[in-house]
Symmetry: C2
Subunit: 418 residues, 2 copies
């Protein structure tokens, strides 16, 4: 079989196995995850040896030290991967939940029951932990999973997948519920993205170029987010101490991630008082400020922002800053430039807090809280499989529930339609 | 402007207007729908005159009398369209509902709030009532809508859209929340399907060829169902009277629709007793039976079914019939041949009823009820915008709620991430 045929076979087998996974009990799924955790820990020497091959190839190819670090497995990291599986085992099983049930005038009982999506494809880059993490979330939600990791991590990914499949075999679960595309050729991904009869959803995890490649080539629905241009609006009634702490946290705690702050909007009535203070604080923390005219005149240290700055996800210590006339202007700016990720208002005014919550249509809208909370774990989803900034199916950080759908269930007693 | 440019402009204006629609109050939206109902009734003479142009063209083109009937508007039908808008006005507004809210250990309150999807594109065929119906559902859920009806109904659709837009104008709502692509050229649809920056969701309403055309050409997510190969399984414990009534209703009440019965599965233990009876009843009602060997030997009137019959949506008085060994075999048959639409078990056994409900992954799974209940109105959704047999976003009949998504809302008091 050539590559395309093998990918088609993997996807078809996954589809068939997904029917068995869909009706596997919570107890068996949890035992499976706990066994996988132990098996990974027990296989640490093999995993580290296989990982070393990837690291050597990476060094020869001249990967950056940051990338090599992301790729690297050691005892501690393997323990971390195993513990993540134990955490997923501890989460409630979403499958089978009846989310609603109502009675019709003809006494039919109609409800909605949560069921797995079916088969989920995960396409990711260098971190080998995704092989275990993402697979565990898909399986816990009763799905089959088809993994396609980056070529840099192919030996590590194969070794991890083999350990997990060993547990499936031991437990007499179909091994095809977890498969790894074993090729590094691009043809393998392209073929995978055509299997709309076998794969229900594709989740790409990686940089914007990976995601764009997947979106452009997929016939299967893709859940994605390209970037996070997150905003904070400091309202005229804001508590300055809280505002300062939230801005510092949102911008500087981990500037390289998608839920960090990129644009600060400040109400004109507090501009003269708040801007010099926040500008001094942020500058002292090494943040470069780019402001509109009103901001720059209150904070001469700031550079002038260009139109492009308002659209930019810096992912480093740079912040766009703008003075706005009122809440309407703040919301209008956000609606125009945001990426539907996360926006927060700092205010002590009840009505404006509620208006901001209602009228900003981003996937996370916050009052008096750091944008850094826009994360599945922080919001209480238990674990995060990804984040969606498109509105279909899921919007915002996605947990186990987002790997399911609901079907209608109808209990009758002989009813027919008149 | 050429056609493509005009479609791009319509979509962009819809996107912009959708932001206003998203925050329009329930009261104003309901007043708008009630005013639209009155305006349509008051414009009956104009609508009928414009409709006559479509009917004349249709006659010249040789449309079938069934198609001409679907196209035709008269006073009674216009009253029906107006009443449908009044029913939509009476439905609860899904926008703004907080579907869940929980507290995090750091006292953050995290919830999910229902918001509109944004802009919805509807692509449909000959019935001009869809212009008002589908538009009203989209608007009630706070969305903008871009309509593209069939060329046979272009004058009727334009006239209805103009009446509805007149109400928007009178009420000082942005007219761009409801627009109709005014061209009949295919180029207009193709361009519409490329506006992924402006349109969030496409819902095609019509035959399988229309839907396949839309799916193949769209860059925007499409909610669709191609066909309904619905099954009934008569369990060994079934009440034969109920089984008979449900089968008759499912197959013969309206055989041309997607939720009618296409395949009957019968447990082998009741085959000898039940088959002669149901075969006689169905034959007397004009239903042609196509069975496997076991079915045919109990009902010699039946023809032999081919492998293709199990996949077929007849949409007429033909029924595939098969004898199965047990519930497992019934579920295996359904999982293999069904179109994920609707399946029903007739049983008086508690455990098998529950297993069928859990293990059949179609969008509607029923116990002791007619498949004809798989319909938004019958299930209690209030109104139906379409039906989805793909699992992403919505699965099964779709009502107002399915035209919305949820965002995360977070109420804090100065929390930052540690």
């Amino acid at each position: 079989m050539n590559i395309a045929e093998q990918v088609v076979t993997i996807a078809k087998n996954a589809r068939e196995a997904s029917l068995i996974m869909a009706r596997t009990s919570t107890t068996i799924k949890n035992d499976m995850l706990l066994n996988m955790a132990i098996a990974l820990e027990n296989s640490a020497p093999t995993l580290i040896a296989e990982n070393r091959k990837d690291l050597e190839t990476g060094q020869q190819k001249g990967l950056s030290s940051a990338m090599l670090d992301r790729l690297m497995l050691n005892e501690g990291r393997i323990k971390g991967i195993a513990d993540a599986l134990r955490e997923i085992a501890a989460l409630p099983d979403p499958v089978g939940e009846v989310t609603k049930m109502w009675k019709r005038p003809n006494e039919l009982m109609v409800g909605k029951m949560r069921i797995p999506l079916g088969t989920i494809g995960i396409i990711y880059e260098s971190r080998p932990n995704v092989t275990a993490d993402a697979a565990a979330l898909c399986l816990k939600a009763g799905n089959a999973v088809v993994l396609r990791g980056g070529s840099e991590a192919i030996h590590s990914n194969r070794a991890i997948a083999a350990v997990l499949q060993g547990v499936l075999k031991e437990m007499k679960l179909p091994e095809a519920v977890l498969s790894l595309i074993p090729f590094t050729e691009r043809e393998g991904v392209l073929e995978m993205l055509k299997q709309e009869e076998s794969i229900d959803l594709i989740i790409p995890r990686g940089g914007e170029s990976l995601i764009r490649f997947v979106v452009e080539n997929s016939r299967i629905p893709v859940i994605k987010h390209y970037k996070g241009v997150c905003h904070i609006f400091v309202d005229q009634s804001a508590d300055f101490d809280k505002a300062e702490q939230i801005i510092i946290n949102s911008k500087t705690q981990r500037p390289g991630v998608c839920n960090s702050l990129e644009t600060l909007l400040i109400h004109k009535d507090v501009a003269a008082e708040f801007i010099p203070r926040i500008a001094a604080t942020l500058t002292a923390l090494g943040v470069e400020l780019r402001g509109d005219d009103a901001f720059c005149s209150a904070a001469p240290i700031a550079k002038s922002a260009t139109e492009e700055d308002w659209y930019t996800e810096y992912l480093e210590l740079i912040l766009s800053c703008r003075v706005v006339d009122d809440l309407d202007a703040a919301i209008a700016h956000i609606n125009r430039y945001c990426s539907l990720h996360t926006e927060s208002i700092i205010t002590s005014d009840y009505s404006r807090a509620q208006r901001f919550i209602r009228e900003v249509n981003s996937s996370c809208v916050m009052v008096n809280a750091s944008t850094r909370f826009a994360d599945g774990g922080q919001l209480g989803l238990g674990a995060e499989i990804g984040i969606s900034t498109t509105k279909l199916h899921s919007f915002g950080p996605m947990g186990l529930e987002d790997l399911t759908t609901t079907k209608f269930i109808v209990y009758g007693d002989g009813q027919v339609r008149e």
